[in-house]
Assembly symmetry: D2
Homo-oligomer: 503 residues x 4
């Protein structure tokens, strides 16, 4: 959703207002973060309310900001955008009353430093010669900067600092007369990962990049249709899951029904494997597989690969819970909630006193001392990014009296950054990119540390193992095998920052 660099847009963005400052939900929990969730509704009563519900269900894919564009029955577009949680932005009946109609699309956005301007909140909307068009994008374009520079040279004025705006201008300057043809014209020029939902007066359009890196599903809602990032958004609005949108597919939904186009060169699918590990909600069904069960299977595989004698298996809540359950059952060790998560953290622990900062992770987690004292503890978590949180968790568990602490991770070591729509640190900040297993164990302070193997992960997903010649998933964060060219980052994808220097 972002470009590596914004040299063509110096500080005072064009015609719009300034940003509102960081929201503060930040990257403090040491995870990779999905950057967006998208949804579109066609022919649904109170489409904007359905869209708001869907965005609420997709809130885990982006907590910084949300927007909805609705198409009224008179053919007029109305929109509302805001910073914060979906419930706060769309909880006001007056706001919803301002978004009439039976078609709408929406977008959730994840916070990334310095970008929290309202002008960057999607869906993007523009008035074209052919009428209005709203676009909501999950993913990241890898040649957005190159395209932007070319278009600025031509006289295009960019308003946001998002890569997604490239779509809008490509559509605006396309010589095709038809909206769908213009969109195809645009898609053929971009590189990167994208699951798009677009809305114009005449159709709801869904599109997925040729490798299908990011998810997009189709649901049936009475007489209407829903497109969404995950099935949990279908469930909340009472829509029935129909199928995944195919990699490279464009669907055009209108009152005549659904038309499927495949204008792109066919390519073997490379769905993001991390959706299974952490991004997707446990009650979603992703590419035909329930996520919760998959995570339990990953946990079981992890136990088979690396179990060690222990008294108790303790998940790092909430994301580590299903894998820990699978692990505990496979290993035959009691599963206990040895760490309690505090859900009342509030929005603005952004200026803590030194005293509070020093006490660190304890604001979100507390040790359930009675379950830990004197025990040999296996901690199960889904991933280690920088390792900062893991270190504090381990310290907390030890302070509560654990006799031994063994960490088991339900993903392989994350050694590479993602450029396809996931917020990841620079490689230099990735613990596994800098240290071997023993060093990591020592840094985190555990008695033993193990990650699931790459083949083990593929096995848990029902594959025989990873086929290096043609991997079934995008696993670049574990392997550095980038399936889509990183055009804007010149030659060196080691650093997102380095790439930010214009060519």
């Amino acid at each position: 959703m972002r470009m590596p660099q914004a040299d063509a847009l110096s500080t005072p963005h064009g015609l719009g207002p300034h940003g509102l400052g960081p929201h503060g939900l930040g990257n403090d929990d040491d995870h990779f973060h999905e950057e967006c969730g998208v949804i579109g509704v066609w022919n649904g009563k109170d489409a904007a309310a359905l869209t708001a519900l869907g965005l609420h269900a997709l809130q885990h894919r982006g907590q910084e900001a949300s927007g909805i564009v609705a198409l009224s029955e008179k053919g007029e577009f109305h929109s509302h955008r805001g910073l914060g949680l979906v419930g706060d932005i769309f909880g006001d009946a007056k706001v919803m009353a301002g978004l009439p109609g039976t078609a709408a699309c929406g977008h959730n956005r994840y916070a990334t430093t310095g970008e929290t301007a309202l002008r960057n909140v999607q869906p993007l909307y523009a008035d074209f010669e052919f009428g209005g068009l709203a676009v909501a994008h999950n993913g990241n374009l890898t040649n957005a900067l190159q395209l932007r520079r070319a278009m600025v040279r031509r006289g295009c004025l960019f308003q946001s600092s998002t890569d997604s705006e490239v779509f809008v201008h490509l559509i605006a300057i396309s010589l095709y007369s038809n909206v769908v043809d213009r969109l195809i014209d645009a898609l053929k020029q971009v590189q990167g990962a994208y699951s798009l939902v677009a809305l114009h007066n005449g159709a709801l359009i869904g599109a997925r990049d040729p490798l299908g890196v990011r998810p997009l599903v189709l649901g049936k809602l009475h007489e209407g249709w829903v497109l969404a990032s995950e099935t949990c958004a279908l469930d909340i609005v009472g829509a029935e899951f129909v199928r995944d949108i195919e990699p490279g597919e464009i669907v055009v939904i209108n009152d005549e029904g659904i038309r499927s186009l495949s204008p792109m060169q066919p390519a073997p699918s490379r769905f993001c494997i991390f959706e299974y590990i952490y991004f997707a909600r446990p009650d979603s069904v992703v590419e035909g597989t329930p996520v919760y069960e998959t995570r339990k299977r990953i946990g079981a595989e992890l136990a088979r690969e690396s179990h060690v004698a222990a008294d108790v298996v303790v998940p790092v809540p909430d994301s580590g819970v299903p894998a820990a359950m699978g692990y505990a059952i496979e290993a035959g060790v009691p599963f206990e909630l040895g760490i309690i998560r505090n859900h009342y953290v509030g929005r603005t622990f952004i200026e803590p006193t030194d005293q509070i900062r020093h006490l660190g992770v304890k604001l979100k987690h507390s040790a359930n001392r009675a379950m830990l004292e004197g025990k040999r503890v296996i901690l199960v978590d889904d991933s280690i990014v920088r390792g900062t949180t893991s270190k504090k968790i381990v310290e907390m568990v030890r302070n509560a009296g654990a006799a031994e602490v063994h960490m088991r991770i339900s993903s392989p070591p994350t050694t590479h950054s993602c450029f396809y729509g996931i917020d990841t640190p620079e490689r230099a900040q990735l613990l596994a990119a800098q240290h071997d297993l023993a060093a990591m164990a020592k840094l985190i302070g555990v008695d033993s540390l193990a990650f699931i193997s790459l083949d083990g992960l593929y096995r848990a997903l029902g594959r025989p193992g990873r086929d290096a010649a043609s991997p079934a998933y995008c696993d670049a964060c574990f392997t550095g095998d980038y399936a889509i060219p990183l055009t804007d980052w010149s030659n060196a994808p080691e650093s997102k920052a380095k790439a930010a220097i214009p060519a």
Copy 2:
């Protein structure tokens, strides 16, 4: 914390400003709600920051508002109060810088209709002849209205609509010269439940009512001391648990150490049994017992009493989880997260559209369809108050394809209101006060429904059963056995509202 009635204070409260309107976190999850958490720190570096951390750990005892009064080394009091979560109120370094000193006390408050005025946010503070005094109160006085009327007649001007202000005026008009003597004078005149933390320039004082209905614990912090509602607040600041304050005990903490006074008539303890079931945090140790383990034991007892053949045990998250785990192990049925809780509900789903309102509980919970479809499901929850949420949860589970739904509740039926500091509905709204088991099962829509028995609950707490002649706990909400007189409610405690009509 509230009085039944506020006849002596008509709408425009005295000298302070108006309230700010309800915060909206309300009673929407159909639980009884603890009304307050309190904490005090003596001789701790950055006492206000420690107090803020403790309040954060006690956030589950009150999410509406918080306040801290700090005593600087110059002997000056500074305070800050706000509506919202602790992190939002005290997350600003400037706010904390305005609360210097090594002694402080704090208070969390739970939202109750029409009372969300800043003037009601504790700690209360007043300037007396002997200097300033801050008071934080967890509990509820049952003769506050009677006392208030008498004092108004005498010329006392009340500023808040809380029962707690009675303490302040009783202290102000006491003829004793010493602060502690004045406090004892006040305590002897009040009836009800109270765990108090008070701070003046010279001592931190803790007090618990003669029956010890509400909790209060003492911790050691390096050279200093901490008083708090629960041990989880000691853990977060790194204090070591010392002991529970005794029922009827007053502790006076100053630089010479701790002095314990017992000026009240001794009486057998009647600690609130609901603290074990729901109020206390699972990682707290209450009256010597870890709460998490107790809840698992209650679940096991529940399984022994009322198990039914099933494929899966599913907790209603989050509060039903430990009991469900205990139940599943005891019953030998797989424990699965068949319901997922959405933690991003936001603050202001207060004006939902009809569409959203209609979809009701789904905002907080979603069904994990893969774990429910075609299964015989045992749902475990901690209590049923009005039954509204249970009904929606059951409907959701059935919609996800469950073959059978059996509800098991880890508390006895709640048939009576609480007058001792817990926010409960009128009896007329309590499902169990109006219906028998079969009718309740039908209303909620389950195939079977069972509550733990009163004796079973006492057994899970390590007692042989309930001794009706001298019950070990306050269990009035299950039995109507009110151990403290309900003076302000005349003869009829059936309705809190009815009592609100002045005598």
Copy 3:
């Protein structure tokens, strides 16, 4: 309205919230400032709306904050208070809808450092044994601190830092049963200046101190009555002026009509002479005399006393305009608007950059160069307090090319502070208390400077001159002749600050 000292109330005021910080309208224009305006309405349709209008007309008497307490037909009190201008606080129809009834009273407050807390905003309101009572006070009590200390000792809890709260507690603890008797009991104990409007369920009450220092007028409104600080508040609501309330008089207005009481010792009136010079609005009629005409007469007298050859008479807008007109006509010199006032100054020039601060007074005034260049200019202003503004105005006029600048002031030199309800600096900051005429002229940078004489001022008011044995007005700010004892300031009224040290 304030006490010299607030030793009995250390920082965290009692049960109410903290203040909201200075409003920023401050004392930047180098005038004495009236501290309050009051109004009460009895038996008027939409009494709160009338009260809001009256407060708007009295806005010049206090711009910091305003409040209204209304008495509904059911006998319930409702109130609303806010910081800012009347229009901003009461411009919202929802606010006004919350203030039903046919009786109300209101108060405007002037900003003084560190006091801008909502809890200090009047009308004060309290619930007494006999019911609610609202009190709005213009003036200042000179023994408030003494009384406060005595009452704190007795167990009274003070909530605000205003002297006016003394009234409320004196009423609360009075042994009389009747409201009016209690009020009289209270008035007999206080010293100082007060024009009071009080409202209880049964009557609207007005009271003026025995010397009648501050104004209070009575108006007839259809079937009802209005009490207000000035006649301009009667005009705006369409009420007809009836008469001034007499010094020492108490009027009790109810549906039977008006009852006048004179419980105080009679004393010769000493109305504040500065109301004529600056405080009162030019379209008000004060003690029978139209203010605008009086100011023109003062200007004429000033011309007679100290005219000098010049080309143009220029007022310092807006307050100097009428005197300048009177001067110009008497002196036969053209009157020109040589200084333009900018009315768009906004609220928050409170954090100016150095650059803006440096440019100082220019934000409010600009020179009309065409009227000043090469001219001999007589500047007419109403008073000089610190002299800071005068200096900048003169510099601006000289920079615009004036050949000569002569300053004429329509009041005598202000050599003493006011303790009777006017915001004045310490004596040490009063230019005329520190310097003789020649030194002042030099400091301000004028070619000549003259003030009207004290006798001249009395003559302009229709008196033969000042009778030192029994002056007709309170003129303490010119003479140091304090007619009411300054009890709280011990022996030395030279400094308000020094008096702040408790006896």
Copy 4:
């Protein structure tokens, strides 16, 4: 500054956020309103602070919103925009610290219905191939819609609903390589009134349309330069007036000095005559003439044309004051402040109760009864637009007891709308477009009514009268003689609204 119609931009504007709702300062005082003030500073220390001061001095030209774009010494642009008064937007030192550099430009904006979006607040800024450019525009383009449609067809995406954005896109798509050449290319394509200040990294540029309808002056500031709408903005920053920018002139200011270009076809000047009557500040010098003196001369001419026997001449404050002074002297009748203006009206009398609405104009003005009672009064005002305010003023004066009321207006009847940058109602709402003199007098309720004649107005400006063949000023609002084509309004300029239907 606005287009007649925004058909190419339906409700949800493009990539930016929504507007913030009307500010409420509106058109309530029944005047035509200048829509903008502009200023630019080159080579001035703290240029943004100087710009803020200049905007403050120009506040009368637009009170809705303001913006500043500053160019730092590193060549980076920073901007800040806000709704409200200049002091409120730029009074914060932190805001100013974020606008470093020695060059800046700024803009004030007047509120017009439904347009109060931050995205419409100027200066507009965009990043072009050649770098950033900020543009501040006073005036209105009359072919903006035509140009906008053509550019949308070409693929340009518009972000605001202002006509001024046309400049930005014309510059972006120009094929010239040089900024100034691109600007000239743009200016040659637009029709309408414009005084522009533009800033890029290399120069400050000023431009005035070929007829010079709106003002723009040049000042010298130490080593630097200032461009501004009026001389009062030069005065406040201490700059010396150099000259007016010529009609059709472009000035390019950089460190080498000033370069003047005249690329446009020469045409006889048609400066806006209403600037003399009402828009310009009285202390400004416009086209070589001091405004204050001109207004007095207009008043004198008005007296010569239409005097009637009277006791007193009373201005409608504040704008009617100079003309009334001129009238009174010429007529030999005393000038008195018979109407007092209340300057504390506040911002948000936007939701008055019916009671307050009914009392109408009285919030801003009050009658000085002592000056009106029993008198024959001549009221002098600058213009009558809808007549609503005049009617209320007259009623107020009569209620105060005036024996006769004669209204004299220092402009001719305003019979036509302005399309050149002034906010005027539709013709149908202009009193003088619908009624003859007698009918107007009756509607307003005066004993007599007179306007200055068109020739009289020209005479007061030092002309022999109006030369119909080649009028010296733009006087279209009095004559309907529109000197610039109204392209976007098709054939019928009678209604701005009618023109809003796209051709």
